[in-house]
């Protein structure tokens, strides 16, 4: 995409860097996490230098992810307040998936789906962190009772699986909705795109109240 002065600034460089840091961490943490999740994924441990390295690296990457995600959380917390409009938006998910955005209420910088994703991810990351500490055998597990470790193992697996599913969805939406990647890659989006998908934000950015 050409660097058109008409384009709107969607994410600053810092925000993009933050996002991609989270993304990279996620990929690593998900791939290494899958190693322990189910035998079919065990070969993924080769990507990390073997099972032992996967076991060693996974929690540290997880901590990095938590830190990076924390920054995003602080930054985007307010923008992700779910409003009545968002709830209305969410009721039109089926139309959206059919590519029909006509009936949808106007979305701000983030639409209802993105906001929901945001909060679900917050929940997953929090659960993963807390349960992850409990099952981190090298440093913390001996401090906790066995029943809690067992519970944490279940929570961690569930939250991890949920998060993977959410991110798979997130990635697909990014691919399917053409040009949306541009916002996160180059920071800029074309006005027509913004007007189509995030009209409220478009107006806010351009002063155009059409």
């Amino acid at each position: 995409m050409k660097n058109n002065p008409q384009n709107l600034l969607r994410f600053t460089a810092a925000e993009r860097a933050n996002h991609w840091l989270v993304a990279i961490c996620f990929v690593l943490v998900a791939l290494s996490g899958l190693v322990f999740f189910y035998p079919a994924f065990y070969p993924l441990s080769q990507l990390f230098g073997g099972g032992v390295w996967a076991r060693i690296l996974h929690p540290f990457i997880g901590l990095l992810l938590f830190a990076a995600f924390g920054l995003m959380f602080v930054k985007f917390r307010d923008l992700n307040r779910i409003t009545a409009t968002d709830r209305e938006w969410l009721r039109h998910t089926r139309e959206l998936l059919n590519g029909d955005e006509q009936g949808l209420p106007e979305a701000g910088k983030f639409n209802g789906g993105q906001k929901l994703l945001f909060w679900l991810l917050v929940a997953c990351v929090a659960l993963l962190l807390l349960s992850g500490i409990v099952i981190w055998r090298a440093y913390f597990s001996p401090l906790f009772p066995l029943w809690l470790i067992r519970l944490a193992a279940v929570v961690h697996a569930a939250a991890g699986a949920g998060m993977i599913a959410l991110i798979l969805g997130h990635i697909y939406m990014g691919i399917w909705t053409s040009e949306s990647m541009a916002g996160m890659l180059y920071g800029q989006v074309r006005r027509p795109w913004a007007r189509l998908h995030h009209r409220a934000w478009f107006r806010q950015m351009t002063g155009d109240d059409q």
Binding site: L34, Y38, P39, A40, F41, P43, L44, Q46
Partner: protein, 196 residues
């Protein structure tokens, strides 16, 4: 939740089919029989002995490194009960089962030592120095204090001023030699652990 193996395979098949990882073709090798720690006594040399602690006299088998070939310095690496022994039938108590750590204790003595009067440390000396000096001290004492006859004229030939304690775990052969030697010196201040 119980999952039968059949169900399990079904789930697996689904999981594998859906996972990109398996498509990468990376799979770890799966052995039909696994490596276990190799049996450590396969070619050690076995020597039969008797536990030196209590008086049950359990038979033990000491396994030592190497086959006693010329170029090998042998060392015992394992001790366990002698299954043929009629009393212990292969069993050993916690003391017998730990004999390896007794014979290889860090507190085993390796060379003769001497502590001078008033000194607060040991000095290493040679066997010749040690035995020479002890023999000299014993002779001095014996020559000075040997009682050949009592004042009332009885022949007694006894030496009272140096005492001896015989080991409780020394072999009969050592004990016999010790007694034979000491009685020739006229020693009577001689005892062993039997009283204690």
């Amino acid at each position: 939740m119980q999952v039968t193996r059949r169900q399990f395979f079904k789930f697996c098949a689904g999981g594998v089919g859906g996972s990109s990882a398996a498509l990468l073709g990376l799979s770890t090798g799966e052995a039909l029989a696994e490596e276990v720690r190799a049996f450590k006594l396969t070619r050690t040399t076995e020597v039969r002995n008797t536990c030196p602690y209590c008086s049950v006299g359990c038979g033990i088998i000491m396994s030592s490194l190497g086959d006693r070939a010329k170029n090998v310095t042998t060392t015992i690496i394992h001790i366990e009960g002698d299954a043929d022994h009629p009393v212990n039938r292969g069993t050993l108590c916690p003391k017998g089962a730990s004999l390896l750590d007794f014979i290889h204790s860090p507190n085993r003595l390796h060379y003769p030592e001497y502590r001078a009067p008033g000194s607060s440390e040991w000095k290493r000396i040679s066997w010749d120095e040690a035995l020479g000096r002890i023999a000299r001290l014993m002779k001095q004492d014996r020559d000075a204090n040997f009682v050949a006859r009592t004042p009332d004229g009885l022949t007694v030939n006894r030496w009272l001023t140096t005492g001896f304690l015989a080991a409780s775990a020394a072999s009969n052969e050592t004990g016999y030699l010790t007694n034979k030697m000491l009685r020739s010196l006229g020693a009577v201040a001689l005892d062993n652990q039997a009283r204690v």
